[in-house]
């Protein structure tokens, strides 16, 4: 039996993000004091100006494939096939690590700058992981 997939353990500061994933929303945060834009990962203050006046909002879920590697030696909890460990650059600016689903895990299929959109994969009653798929899919 392979071990269960490594899953996040939300903290009070990140709970809203994971609740969003569970509800099918990709939530980002932004400052209402400065125009520093959106930021990620979540924290209860603006990393640019230090203000605690921040809000979470539903992001577009769209972005582009920014960079990746294809892990040829799968981690035991990740199955037996090679998979891409990717970073997506979101339309709102922040970057996030993810997996690209709905397409072959090959250099030919995974082209830098291709448009991708978020899709949520429930892992248990609490956690859904935000993956991305080709936007045309």
């Amino acid at each position: 039996m392979p071990p269960p997939r490594m899953l996040p353990e939300p903290t009070p500061e990140t709970r809203n993000f994971w609740d969003g994933c569970k509800a099918g929303e990709l939530r980002l945060q932004r400052c209402t004091d400065c125009d520093g834009g959106s930021y990620f990962p979540p924290r209860p203050f603006c990393p640019r100006c230090g203000s605690r006046k921040v809000e979470a909002y539903k992001a577009s879920g769209q972005g582009v494939l920014w960079s990746y590697v294809i892990n040829m030696r799968p981690r035991p909890d990740m199955g037996t096939e090679p998979y891409a460990i990717a970073v997506v650059k979101l339309a709102e600016g922040p970057q996030m690590m993810t997996n690209i689903v709905g397409c072959p895990q090959t250099p030919e299929a995974l082209v830098l700058d291709m448009p991708v959109k978020v899709t949520f994969a429930p892992q248990n009653d609490d956690i859904s992981l935000p993956f991305f798929e080709p936007a045309g899919a």
């Binding site: 490594m6 353990e9 590697v69 892990n71």
Partner: protein
């Protein structure tokens, strides 16, 4: 800090290197420390400052029988020892202590008395990176590289070339793990680990350690070895998650640390005779050459391909063979420092003739941290 006042007087690596199944992690620290003490003719009781990473400075002090008035446990990955050198120089200047022992030991391969690599599922990396399947540095440190290659117009052959030239240096080093010549084709044909990275673009996994002993430059002249003076130092940190690196084509920590060290030392790039850039993976020397200002963005690959960093080139780089071919126990920064010290003492296996200024530049984590030390064998 007051400039130009501190020197390395003792330096040594562990007695054995590579695969050391009969020594634990703390034992490797101690072996390196005893060798460095012998190198400068001191006893543990002569040491009043300790610094280390991986284990606590408390572990080190107690195990070695040292009662310090200065302890530094800065642990920011493989460049921690550059930061220890920087902090030790400041501490000695400030009178916190006189003689600092900095140690590294890691049972990277044999895992004797070694802890795990785990990250808590509640940490930011545990929440926002680990669920997507990274399996250690080969699948994390490499994540920005496709973006870098595209932005610079570099190719996987350019990555392979880094490993090929470092193997040329390793061939001159009897203690290097791998010495046989390799070609770009060999590198590209080696096992694919994390596309586009093949095995020969990844560092070794070995056992070993090293230690340095620093004191004030005025005392340094009384020791048996040629003193190696510290002209300038830098450090910075950026992010614990590679996915959150501000710019995938350039390390902010490299830029800040390098600039600080150059400014403090007053040396120019043209003054540098010898360079160490921590090469956990083949892309690190490319980033390092650009972020330290030796090459303009986009010119580093051509600089290496043009043999400028190879034996006989104008900027000898990673002359011990580097993490790719010499050794890499996990926190390689100590070995980069050791090679800079050997070059400044004039005793390196692949000695750069007449070298007077050497820079050792380290990375910690996956572009998480950086430290830079400018050395010279001439008294400032």
């Amino acid at each position: 800090m007051k400039r130009k006042s501190i020197a390395v007087v003792g330096a040594a690596e562990t007695t054995q290197m590579g695969k050391i199944p009969n020594v634990s992690v703390i034992g490797l620290h101690a072996d390196a420390a005893l060798n460095a003490l012998a190198d400068c003719g001191l006893k543990p009781s002569d040491i009043d400052g300790v610094a280390t990473a991986g284990i606590s400075p408390v572990d080190l002090a107690h195990y070695m029988g040292i009662t310090p008035t200065y302890a530094d446990g800065t642990s920011v990955g493989g460049c921690s020892f550059m930061l220890h050198v920087r902090h030790a120089a400041a501490a000695i200047n400030e009178g916190l202590c006189n003689t600092v022992l900095i140690t590294h030991g890691e049972s990277g391969r044999s895992r004797v008395g070694a802890g795990g690599f785990g990250r808590a599922a509640s940490s930011l990396a545990g929440q926002f990176e680990m669920p997507y399947g990274p399996a250690g540095p080969p699948t994390m440190f490499t994540v920005p590289v496709l973006r870098y290659l595209k932005a610079r117009g570099y190719t996987v052959e350019d990555l392979a070339q880094v490993a090929v030239i470092q193997r040329e240096w390793a061939a001159k080093n009897p203690r290097a793990s791998y010495k046989d010549p390799i070609t770009v084709e060999d590198v590209l044909k080696s096992d694919m680990i994390a596309w586009p990275f093949t095995k020969l673009m990844c560092c070794l996994v070995t056992d070993g350690g090293g230690a340095l002993i620093l004191t004030s430059a005025e005392r340094a002249k009384d020791f048996p070895q040629k003193p190696v003076y510290i002209l300038g130092t830098g450090e910075s940190v950026e992010t614990p998650m590679v996915s959150q690196m501000e710019d995938f084509t350039s390390s902010k920590a490299f830029r800040v640390s390098g600039k600080k060290a150059f400014e403090e030392s007053g040396v120019s790039h043209a003054d540098v005779d010898h360079l160490m850039i921590y090469d956990a993976f083949a892309h690190l020397p490319l980033y390092g050459l650009e972020d330290l200002g030796f090459c303009k963005p986009g010119e580093a690959a051509g600089f290496i391909k043009g043999r400028n960093t190879a034996p006989g080139g104008k900027l000898p780089l990673n002359t011990n063979g580097g993490g790719l071919s010499y050794m890499h126990s996990g926190m390689y920064g100590m070995y980069a420092l050791q090679e800079s010290v050997r070059q400044m003492r004039g005793v390196a296996p692949a000695q750069v003739p007449g070298a007077k200024i050497s820079i050792a530049h380290g990375v910690g984590g996956m572009f998480a941290a950086s430290g830079t030390i400018v050395f010279s064998n001439e008294a400032p």
